[in-house]
Each structure stands twice: as C-alpha cells, then as structure tokens.
Symmetry: C2
Subunit: 257 residues, 2 copies
C-alpha cells in the first residue's frame, strides 16, 4: 500500500548543481530519486523523473542553490514499499553517496506536503575572519581576509527584520510574483573567529539569504551604513544591495511545519 513519507536529509552541497533534479547534472534530488526508484524496483531513466506522472515524486521544502548545504532538508514522497521507516532510511543510505544522508524517515499523513505545508525556514551563513583559515570545515564557511565589524552588521540587520518588500534582495530579476517576505529573525553572532548569521522567515526569494549576507558585509567593512538598509529596501532595485555571498557558507538548518 502506498504511504506518504517525510524524509529529513543532510547534504554537503559542494559538488551538486543544487537540490532540484536536472537531467544530466548531479543534483541532490536526482540522487535521492534514483535510489528511491531502485528501492521500489522501478526502472526509470534520468529524464523520467521530470514527467508529471512519474511514480516517484519527491517534494523538497525548497530548492537550495548549487553549493549550498543542508543539515535538515525536509522532503516527502509517496512510496509503495513493504520496508519499515528505518529500513527505507538504511536502504537509501547504503546506496547514496557519502555526501548525502537520510537522517530520518517517518510515515506522514496523506496531506503532508513538504513545500506547501512549510511555515518557516532557518538558514545559517558561516563566515570566518581570524588570521588563519580553519582547515577541516573549509567547505562550510566563507573566509574573510580582513576582520569585519560585526556590531555594525548587527545594527544593519535590525533594519531588515520584519515584513518588507525584499525585491532589492532578489536574485531573479524576472520575478513577477510578490517579493514581500517576512524575516522575523536576522542575527549576527561571533564565536571563536567565526561569524554566524542566522535568519528565520516564512519564505525566501532566490539568493535572498546570500544577498542579505553580502549586504551586511558591505556594512561591516564600512562601505555602507546600517541606516542605508532602509533606502535599499525602498529602492526595490537589486543593484542597490550588496553582492551575493558565496554559496559554500550557507546551510539550511531547519524547516518548520
């Protein structure tokens, strides 16, 4: 009997073209779907997964960009399998590459939809501005070769918290739908040379977190002032905000339902 399953997935996004399945490219969704098809004894080609009637329909809470990581991406998929939840998890982990792991599989209600039911997401961006680059976690932070003023960054962050039109922070210039989003937390924290920027909101525009970080860094280096954030929001113009920070520092931490 087919059941809807909720999956919690961790991945190192370094070598992937992001979450979303793209035939002929290495993607996280593509890796997961291929293993799920195999588990269900289905003989599917890479392009079959793009068809609306594909028997494996893995829905992610969101699409992470190429190079972005996740500690707990949530996805759901309807599966016809006799395997228990833990056995599904173990089967997937046996055949997945070692940079993707299924942390949990739980049976969910038929109505659970990882994208539509998501009510909030937490992302963390990690920077390091000490004198010596840490070696072991080097794929998961962005190195700053000059110390940055995090008090200024935190002051700028306060202007960005709340419901705003974030069009200036949207990487998709053709975005036709509303660019209003609610960011209820944007925190800049320092610990042992690392700088953690934690952001929580109901939803995010394309590249939004990375552009927020790039803009906060402009403030941290004195090229913008905290109060400039107001004008940048009002301008609704991508060119007014700072650059897009590199993907490697970004990690999806959790999804709320």
């Amino acid at each position: 009997m087919a059941l809807n399953y909720k999956l919690k997935i961790a991945y190192d996004g370094t070598r992937y073209y992001g979450w979303e399945h793209q035939p002929g490219r290495e993607t996280v969704q593509g890796k997961l779907e291929t293993v799920l098809a195999r588990m269900c004894g289905l003989d599917l080609k890479d392009t079959d997964f793009m068809k609306p009637d594909c028997p494996i329909q893995l829905v992610g809470a969101g699409r992470t960009d190429a190079g972005v990581h996740a500690r707990a991406m949530i996805a759901n998929v309807v599966l016809d399998t006799h395997l228990s939840e833990d056995k599904i998890r173990d089967y997937m982990n046996r055949y997945l590459p070692d940079d993707i792991a299924v942390r949990e599989v739980t049976a969910a209600s038929d109505r659970f939809h990882a994208r539509y039911k998501a009510v909030g997401k937490t992302y963390q961006y990690t920077l390091y501005d000490g004198p010596v680059r840490p070696v072991f976690n080097r794929k998961y932070y962005t190195y700053l070769d000059q110390p940055v003023d995090t008090d200024r960054m935190a002051a700028a962050a306060e202007y960005l918290v709340g419901e705003h039109d974030f069009k200036s922070f949207c990487g998709n210039s053709h975005m036709k739908k509303s660019t209003v989003r609610n960011v209820d937390r944007l925190e800049v924290r320092r610990a042992k040379g690392y700088i953690y920027i934690t952001v929580h909101g109901t939803g995010f525009l394309q590249n939004m977190v990375r552009i927020l970080v790039g803009t906060l860094l402009e403030v941290g280096y004195g090229r913008m002032n905290p109060e400039d954030m107001k004008g940048i929001l009002e301008a609704r113009d991508r060119k007014k905000a700072g650059p897009t920070a590199p993907a490697k520092g970004l990690c999806l931490i959790s999804v709320d339902y």
Copy 2:
C-alpha cells in the same frame, strides 16, 4: 640573519601521500617547503629538497601516513628572512592550498629540533557507529556499520598501556631497531555516536596507532577478548594483531616538548 622557527601546522591529509616529501607526489612537507623556498626567493626544483645541502630543511615532529590528518603537527626550519613571525605565517597561508594551514610561527632556539626534542605525541582516532553516517566531517572518521562494544575495547586498551614491545603492532616487518615503546594513555570514549580513541606515548612505530585501533575493534566485535592483548604483545608477530584501521580516522593532535 638566519633564525630557527617553530611551526604549528594543521592539515587535512585526504589528498596527500603523507607528510614526507617525495618528488613528483603531493605531500604536506613538499607543499610547505615549496612555499618556504618561494618566500626566501630561492629557485629550487622539487628534487632539490631531497639533497642534504638544500637551504630549506623543514623538520617535522614525525611522519604521518597518506591520508592521516593533523591538528597541530610541529616542524622547525632555519630561515633567512626579514619577515616577522606573523608575516611568515600569513605569507605561507596565502600560497598554501586550503587543506594546509600554518597556525603559528614562533622563533625558537637554535637547538630546537622538532623530531629529536619531541618527548610525546597525542593521536586521536575517530569512529562512528550510529545508524546514519554524519555527512559534513565524513573525511575525518571511519564508519562502522554495526554498533561496537566500547566497554570491551576499553578493557582491552588497559592491557596495552605501559612500556611493551609493540612488534605485533608494527607495520614495518623489516624494522631492525627496538620496537619497545611506552604508551602511557590509551582511552576509548563514546560521545553522541562517535567513538574517540586517544593515545599518548613517547613515540610510535609505523602504523602502530592504526593497528592498535584495528585490534581494539576486533575485541569490540567479539572476535578477540580483552585478555588476548597479553598474548599478542608477547608473540611479537604482526599477524597476531588485528588489521590496520583506515588512515582517514586518524589525526595527530599534539606534540610535547
């Protein structure tokens, strides 16, 4: 004026043929020497570093095997440079690949020799035996697909602590010199699915830590008993000990002087 400098170095050994310089191969020492030569304005070929009269003589506290990591390898080198200690560190880090970092450079006495003056070393071996492989640090631990009994491993470790002839734990069958070593600490600790084996001693034989770990795992899985350690030590026969654990789980933590 030439001065003797002490270097503290961290590296991810994954892609290296170990510490020791080997012409034509990627080694940690080779990377460091090449950058030092450049810094001192010396035009040296890869093979020049093997010559006894090479002006750059980097001495490491020990040689780590291919794939083994270090949090704080210590080395010394006599350099004729006008750069300050921090500028040497910064220069090196600018030109080193991102999997090697010079954490500290300090001027040392002429008599300081990273190998001869070392009086102790601490290594840590990391295992994981939980149901889901952690993704982000996957290059730094060895995964066990079955839970292991760490109480048995700890009991076996007690037999190995002390001054013994560790010939059974020596990877070099042609070893002519004494195989007596003093291991004053061999600790098995569990934390959140990880198993940390920490070993401290005055010196170690080739592959000794990895063979100790491989043997403790035989006990942990019930294929050997803790008290078998006595007989293995007495046998002075590599074939009596367990297999050599993979390099990736091993890290040089510190060197005592």
